[in-house]
């Protein structure tokens, strides 16, 4: 998926820069909003149609819900602190940190609500986070424990990094990873639109 996402964005950049006349680019711009609506709606359908989810949460114990809370709050505190040090406004720092490694959705949301530059920043922040997660999961699982390994993954702990988490942690941590992924994924559109309305 990383390759397809990067390829689509790169192709779009090349088309915009070299091949498409200005009129075509302007004509295409409402398409971005439509694609985003479809994407967010489809994410909702995916979350809503997971009928096993309430059962999984109950079987893992309610304390497992504290894990995504720690993940969300920690990510925001760390991301906002570094963003402010880099000279970003508070709201934008919060907005780009609210992607929780879901680079495609956060980038499109910030492009729509702030600007293309904000969207690009969100894309790279969250792409780098996913890459960091893939690199850090084995190390964190070994040195800090199975639950800590879920932290860098953010929203990807229910899909792209789940197989890696399963391999390096145990069954209860894998269930916690799914719950963490669902909560973080739901939080992406909510928090981005709160920080950058």
């Amino acid at each position: 998926m990383i390759a397809a996402a990067l390829g689509a964005m790169l192709l779009g950049v090349l088309c915009g820069q070299f091949w498409f006349p200005q009129t075509v680019s302007e004509w295409l711009s409402p398409g971005g909003s439509i694609a985003l609506s479809v994407l967010v709606f489809s994410v909702g359908v995916e979350i809503g149609s997971d009928r096993e989810l309430p059962h999984r949460v109950r079987s893992a114990g309610l304390s497992v819900l504290l894990l995504p809370v720690a993940n969300l709050v920690g990510s925001l505190l760390g991301g906002i602190a570094v963003g402010l040090l880099c000279g970003l406004p508070f709201r934008l720092a919060g907005g780009v940190s609210s992607g929780f490694a879901w680079y495609s959705l956060s980038a499109v949301l910030l492009t729509e609500s702030v600007s293309e530059q904000a969207g690009t920043l969100a894309f790279f922040v969250n792409l780098f986070r996913e890459i960091l997660a893939v690199a850090l999961i084995p190390l964190c699982a070994k040195t800090l424990g199975p639950y800590a390994a879920i932290a860098p993954a953010g929203a990807t702990s229910m899909d792209t990094t789940l197989s890696l988490l399963r391999r390096y942690t145990d069954e209860s941590a894998a269930i916690a990873a799914i719950v963490n992924g669902v909560v973080c994924s739901t939080a992406v559109p909510v928090l981005v639109s709160l920080f950058c309305p």
């Binding site: 996402a5 689509a8 964005m9 779009g12 088309c15 915009g16 820069q17 200005q22 398409g31 971005g32 694609a35 985003l36 609506s37 994407l39 709606f41 994410v43 909702g44 359908v45 995916e46 979350i47 809503g48 149609s49 114990g61 504290l66 894990l67 720690a70 993940n71 969300l72 709050v73 920690g74 990510s75 925001l76 991301g79 602190a81 570094v82 963003g83 880099c86 495609s104 959705l105 980038a107 499109v108 293309e116 690009t120 920043l121 894309f123 790279f124 792409l127 780098f128 986070r129 960091l132 997660a133 964190c140 800090l144 639950y147 800590a148 932290a151 739901t186 559109p189 909510v190 981005v192």
Partner: protein
Amino acid sequence: MWVLLDLVLGVLIGRFLLPARWKKANAVLQTAATIAALFLMGVSLGTQGNLLANLQQTGWMALWIAVGTVAGSLLLTVLLDRRLLRPHRMRKGKGGEDG
């Protein structure tokens, strides 16, 4: 705010209306929408002149912010695990119930 309404509408339809056999179609739709949205985002980025300069500046900042989010989430998760989850698991284990 429409993003939230869109999301909630999707959750309700996924929960109450969507037949299970359409889940795969939804996954395909999601991938197609992601690719389309990123392509169109690329097009609007590409129409700006100073793209490369922007990217050079943005890249490093993005990496540092990503490190910040990972460090923050790790710190709080480890604290939670050591202070709360681990003692809870140990108590459960001693009780000899479902471990």
